[in-house]
């Protein structure tokens, strides 16, 4: 008797295979690599960490399993591959950076929940007036300055509604594709450019601080203020450059937005005077910010951030339910897992081996031009951040880049900064995703403005790396 699978079962199996094809390929290649003989120049544990690293990067890019599951897999395989004992793995999962990411995400929920966006809208309008060029400059600069301190995700949540309302009010009169792109990109790119300015600008900066502390031999510790000194010139050049580039690429259909601004004013006027809760929200954030500057060496950025989140909860400015529902716990878990993997890459010598292997290919060139590792770093980080988001890029590339042969402080800073160069795709940053999914801007708009933004950012970064950082370092005791 011939055995035949029912059609529906076969169809379901085939569907599962095509849905999970990347997972199957990753499992197959991982198993194959596991059983292949490994090079003499790397240790047994190091080789297995390398396999785990490749598996993790592939799983994050393809998203074939939920991201929190990747974090769980890291812990399981670190122990199963005899990379580290269970107790050590557990220890590496929780550190100040994870606290910092957790705290800042929770604070973002509290700040956004207060509805400070209407105040912000009112402030921007007052500051910029009705002229398009002033509005674009205002949006870019305010998005950049705010995202430096309260984080890109918070600024995006507060400023995008303002931008989208303005665009809507304006498009009622006639189609304005260029003006729409101009205003929305000024917020999206402005917040991206600003997010490199301080450690609290984005999760990736906090991750890099942790990698410096745990992965580099000398254990580099950079304070909040030192980071500002190193990165802020880039923010200033970036926000002015962004305004110029965007106005050059998207020539607005109208030069003044009188009606739209009037409508927006009516929209936000009903809010009345600033409330006690709003005032308290701002005061608490200012306290947290001051603590980050003055007390971070004593307490750590993470403890201060979760302290801020505690105060928001304790004062009743936000409910735990709101925080719990709107905080992406899966991402926190993933970063914890990836940082743990980064630490093991250092402990097992994998990061050094990868760095040496890659740079070995360019050694004659590096002897001539010491800037090669930095250019390679910028290229790889920019590429990956356009594929799998900026924070994920720093988390997976950080340990490797710190072992690529350049000065670890500069290499780390270059990685953290160039991970913000995800201008080409909609997936690198939340603001880009939202403006793209709104249907108001096309993917070609990202390319049109993106390549100019990338060139401007890369040239600025290289100049600052070559002249400004050595100058600053020679006058301070950063290391």
């Amino acid at each position: 008797m011939q055995f035949k699978l029912p059609d529906e079962l076969t169809r379901n199996v085939l569907f599962w295979i095509q849905e999970k094809r990347w997972l199957l390929i990753i499992v197959f290649l991982g198993t194959l690599m596991y059983h292949l003989p490994y090079p003499d120049s790397i240790s047994y544990a190091g080789y297995r960490t390398l396999i785990l690293g490749l598996i993790v990067i592939s799983l994050i890019i393809t998203e074939t399993v939920p991201l929190p599951a990747v974090a769980l897999l890291i812990a399981v395989l670190e122990v199963a591959f005899h990379i580290a004992p269970a107790a050590e793995v557990a220890k590496t999962y929780m550190n100040d950076s994870v606290f910092f990411i957790m705290g800042s995400l929770m604070m973002a929920v509290a700040i956004v929940h207060q509805g400070l966006d209407t105040r912000l809208a009112f402030g921007i309008i007052k500051l910029t007036g009705n002229q398009v060029k002033h509005i674009v400059l205002g949006f870019t600069c305010i998005a950049a300055l705010l995202s430096s301190f309260i984080g890109e995700h918070t600024v995006v949540a507060m400023m995008l509604p303002v931008g989208l309302s303005l665009v809507r009010n304006c498009s009622k009169q006639k189609p304005i594709p260029n003006l729409t792109a101009l205003i929305l990109f000024s917020i999206a790119y402005g917040s991206t450019v600003g997010s490199i300015g301080t450690p609290s600008g984005g999760a990736r900066n906090a991750i890099m601080l942790e990698y410096w502390r745990t992965i580099t031999d000398s254990g580099i510790t950079l304070t909040y203020f030192q980071w500002i000194i190193m990165a802020y010139p880039l923010v200033i050049v970036g926000m002015l450059g962004t305004t110029f580039i965007l106005q050059m690429v998207f020539k607005p259909e109208i030069q003044r937005m009188d009606t739209a601004i009037r409508r927006l004013k009516i929209q936000v006027a009903h809010k009345g005077n600033i409330t006690g809760n709003e005032f308290l929200t701002i005061i608490i954030f200012i306290i947290v910010f001051l603590c980050w500057i003055f007390l971070n060496e004593r307490f750590g950025l993470g403890i201060i951030a979760i302290g801020g989140a505690f105060i928001y909860l304790a004062t009743g400015l936000v409910d735990w339910k709101q925080v719990s529902n709107n905080t992406n716990w899966g991402v926190i878990l993933l970063f914890a897992g990836v940082i743990s993997l980064g630490v093991q890459m250092k402990n097992t010598g994998t990061a050094l081996w990868i760095g040496n292997s890659i740079m070995g290919q360019f050694s004659p060139l590096i002897d001539e031009f010491s800037i090669i590792p930095y250019i390679f770093n910028i290229f790889l980080t920019t590429l990956l951040s356009n594929i799998m988001s900026s924070s994920g890029t720093v988390a997976v590339l950080g340990p490797i880049m710190l072992n690529m042969g350049g000065e670890p402080l500069y290499m780390g800073m270059t990685t953290a900064i160039s991970s913000a160069f995800g201008y080409f795709s909609a997936i690198a940053a939340p603001a880009c995703m939202i403006i793209y999914s709104s249907g108001l801007v096309k993917i070609t708009d990202f390319l049109k403005a993106g390549w100019r933004m990338a060139i401007m950012s890369i040239i600025t970064l290289l100049i600052i790396h070559k002249f400004y950082w050595p100058f600053i370092i020679s006058y301070t005791n950063f290391k």
């Binding site: 949540a157 995008l160 989208l164 309302s165 991402v331 939340p430």
Partner: protein, 290 residues
């Protein structure tokens, strides 16, 4: 019966899909589910995107998918399909990994508006499994491979609204062979013919000059059924490559109706099938009956 209409935006193509879907649903007195599948953010930034969307909702700026559903709802309302109520976002409920707008029950047609996020094929497959739909009415995918996957994996009849021109009087090309689904295709085409006042061309194609018993019986059965239903039709028996003949005979002014093949699923996945190739190559709307 239950029909699923998948739309991607508010452009003319989506409007055509809605028009055709409504017209066919009317003929079958079917319930309609309008589904929008939006692009999902990368998981790493999903939390940030959701936080921004929460803030935007305070400004009455909703998920772009809701704007599309609102547009579809207004079209349905104008056609008399949807109840005389407004599109109220407060009536959105999240259930089974999707967002649905709760609308009051109507005596004629039940309308459902559904918002999903993720991969098109995966989300439509889940929707079809949950809703047990009789037909999924969708725009034709640009990629041929996607068209094949949809036909194979969506366990329902599929109507690809391809190059549809609302100003044309479409005729029906009924492709008859010895497959199990042919009878159902004949019944569907009779119903749709009445709805569109369209003549039917019943076409059986053999690769050789000889027509097997199965083909001849199917052809005769189709003729008898159409006569019984008093549908004007023309009957043809042709030789040649079936897919090429179907596509050539259909041109751009027919709606092709044929049964879904029931062959080996693995072979279909690798090499495709007659209905799959027809749907990929045709320049007109194609209905593949499950």
């Amino acid at each position: 019966m239950k029909f699923l209409i998948a739309i991607k935006n508010t452009d003319d193509e989506s409007k055509n899909i809605l028009d055709v879907g409504c017209k066919i649903a009317e003929g079958f007195s079917a319930d309609l589910t309008i589904c929008y599948v939006g692009k999902k953010s990368k998981s790493l930034i999903e939390g940030d995107v959701n936080l921004a969307r929460l803030s935007m909702a305070e400004w009455n700026i909703y998920h772009p998918g809701l704007e599309v559903l609102k547009w579809a709802f207004n079209i349905l309302k104008n056609k008399g399909f949807a109840p005389e109520t407004s599109f109220v976002v407060e009536n959105l409920v999240e259930e089974n990994g999707r967002i649905r707008l709760v609308l009051p029950e109507t005596t004629n047609y039940q309308i459902r508006l559904v918002l999903r996020e993720g991969q098109l094929l995966s989300e439509l497959n889940q929707e079809v499994k949950q809703g047990k739909f009789d037909i999924a009415i969708i725009g034709s995918p640009r990629r041929k491979r996607m068209a094949q996957k949809m036909i194979q994996f969506l366990n329902t009849s599929i109507f690809y609204v391809k190059n549809f021109n609302p100003n044309w009087n479409y005729k029906i090309l009924l492709c008859v062979d010895d497959s199990q689904a042919t009878k159902r295709a004949v019944i569907f085409s009779a119903q749709i013919s009445k709805q569109f006042s369209a003549d039917i061309t019943s076409l059986t194609v053999s690769k050789t000059s000889f027509f097997g018993k199965g083909y001849r019986n199917a052809h005769i059965w189709a003729e008898r059924y159409l006569i019984r239903k008093e549908i004007p039709f023309e009957s043809k028996l042709l030789n040649g490559n079936p897919v090429e003949v179907f596509v050539k005979e259909a041109g751009v002014d027919h709606i092709i109706i044929m049964g879904k093949a029931k062959g080996n699923e693995i072979i279909k996945f690798i090499f495709g099938s007659k209905p799959i190739h027809t749907a990929q190559q045709a320049n007109c709307p194609v209905l593949l009956v499950n």
